[in-house]
Symmetry: none
Subunit: 209 residues, 4 copies
Amino acid sequence: MAQVLKEEVRSRIIASAKKELLKKGYKDASMREIAKGADLTVGNLYRYFDSKEELVNTIIGTTLEKIDRFVKEKTNEGISLNKSDFSLDVSGKIIAYMLKDIGDELVEIYFESPSAMQILMKDEAVSKRMRKWLSKLITYFVSKMYGDSLLNAKVLDVLSDSFALSIISGIQACFLYKDLNKKELKLCIRAYLGTFAFLLDQKIELGEE
Amino acid sequence: MAQVLKEEVRSRIIASAKKELLKKGYKDASMREIAKGADLTVGNLYRYFDSKEELVNTIIGTTLEKIDRFVKEKTNEGISLNKSDFSLDVSGKIIAYMLKDIGDELVEIYFESPSAMQILMKDEAVSKRMRKWLSKLITYFVSKMYGDSLLNAKVLDVLSDSFALSIISGIQACFLYKDLNKKELKLCIRAYLGTFAFLLDQKIELGEE
Amino acid sequence: MAQVLKEEVRSRIIASAKKELLKKGYKDASMREIAKGADLTVGNLYRYFDSKEELVNTIIGTTLEKIDRFVKEKTNEGISLNKSDFSLDVSGKIIAYMLKDIGDELVEIYFESPSAMQILMKDEAVSKRMRKWLSKLITYFVSKMYGDSLLNAKVLDVLSDSFALSIISGIQACFLYKDLNKKELKLCIRAYLGTFAFLLDQKIELGEE
Amino acid sequence: MAQVLKEEVRSRIIASAKKELLKKGYKDASMREIAKGADLTVGNLYRYFDSKEELVNTIIGTTLEKIDRFVKEKTNEGISLNKSDFSLDVSGKIIAYMLKDIGDELVEIYFESPSAMQILMKDEAVSKRMRKWLSKLITYFVSKMYGDSLLNAKVLDVLSDSFALSIISGIQACFLYKDLNKKELKLCIRAYLGTFAFLLDQKIELGEE
DNA sequence: CATGAATGAGTTTTCATTCAT
DNA sequence: AATGAATGAAAACTCATTCAT
């Protein structure tokens, strides 16, 4: 049997891991299955990656950093994946432009490593953090959107958080489509985020009970 | 010793399973733990339910059927969870009322069996089906919302599907909050769905490339 | 195949574990091997004991507690396995009596569960703790035994600690003999400890360099 | 490129192995780590040593031989590590001088290769053999020390063996201290062995049952 | 009806050793 | 003489499911 070059095996592992991770997610993807998919013994897999975590980070890492770097820059260091507290001065409609820029950049990053982005999008820990900022970010708008109809703070919170998840899920959905070219994907993301940006400026009337 | 009625045991199992499923999710909920929680042996548990899957389906089932029955009724049999093809004649703004009604009904169903609804909301298979109809349902509106800017059918599809997921995720988020009373939950759902209903009537301008 | 009673299996496991532990020690004894020795699957073994640690504690536990209780009592709570700091007022030759009593009691405890004691004696963690107290306990005597010849505090420490280990090793050796009856074992332990008790009262002359 | 001499590599391996063995002990020292520490590949390491065992024996070997040679010499070929049977005519107090000499020599050997000695001291197989001779060597004295109180041959054996282990453990403890200089270590060993030599001349009274 | 003992395949990770190059 | 890729069996532990009683 021919001796295989290291790099070739490494990429076979990564390819197999991507498949598994997309299919099953972090928790349910198994090292055994990844090894099998890469035509390796498990022992050998561990020569290439010290742990499941390291393997996944290798796949996700770069992409995650790119996103973080960009968001930090756009928000003047106000938001980062690595801090749970964050501040943001959102003056007026600037947010609309911000969302558009972020959307465009996400698309760029996506095309540099599509499956990394897809896996990352499915990562619960990442989603949670994103949801947390977004939720805080839009609370202000949500309270304006519905005016006095939602006096209750609890309801306001739930609604902000739900919208945050809602927005993120939609973005994830876009990125999980495989057969869009860059132009099409950009259009989708822009339309999607643009719609929410539009929403944030509206007054929504709630019908009476 | 009093003979324990079958039905009583069954419901004890279901109660225990609900707890476990909510705490740990499908994959991590263990049959042993469920049995223990119901004060039963594993072996006996399997006399009531053939498999983990069946048990979960039983829990979700009733609630799912209620939802299905209601949606069918509201859409004149146009939409059902159990058929992948469906048709819908949506004339004008009727959909807005429909959404409001569906939202209210969901809240009612939720309060009949909150945990079943919560588990159901976390169930991927269910989400997928709901997403499918919703996606088809709103395709029509989405094409109108963005006008000619989105001529491409593929983009239209992706966007509809993403909005569908987006809407569903938001509803799920609302239902997964535990400390809302019926009035508050209804308000949330109504605000949330109302916002999307409002959206469907708007024209969104997308900025140039 | 006949259904085996729980208790019977439990004792088979314990028997097998004792064998393994004596042969290999805690770290190198494997659950797999223990299961095999008890004619069980590993999975089934875990039905009886939640972890390796629990299994070992089951075997050692009672014996360890007995020893601890007795030593505490004899030293007026001055020494316990569970605290790293301890104090002890040793007035004169009382220690000789104490050692004799402790020796006798150890033999009693040994015969209540010989292999438990043997495993416990091989347990590094236990040895370490015993060595620590003994070392502190005899520092005082050692400095008297050698008079001015050992001015150096470091040397004094090393020597005390080495004697502590020395004493413990000898006791362990006695207990690891399998074919002594109670009277014989008591004689051994008493002779052994008596010798050290005797030593602690002597002045040892060290020859010149 | 300069050809690396075999011997140079060999000693690098041995140096690295010493470090690993001291840090982790036989079982937990890993060949991969040893190779890494010697700046070698695993495969190549196996060209120099056929197995882990051989490597360890090589390290211990020289020191062990030195000890053996010296003891043989001192006992007129009466004792050797490599024969299980041995004879020894010990007339009177000569043993005291012998012990002192052996102690001094051990310290010399120790400083020729401290880590080899430390590893050797931790080696169970070696301890066993040393214990065996020492045990036989002191049987004669032990029977004199306790007079008629220990008529039983079995008890006599156990006690001799326990004292042998006891003595060895103490010596090991001394050698495992790392920060003693030669003079201090010699003092320790001499005090320690001197104490036992002193003991061997005493009559120990055992209290009545 | 019910018990709970048992199984077999699963999880991640480690490691001495072999062997094609 | 050297490399480092690969193997296979081991470790502790888990779990859905089956089955003798």
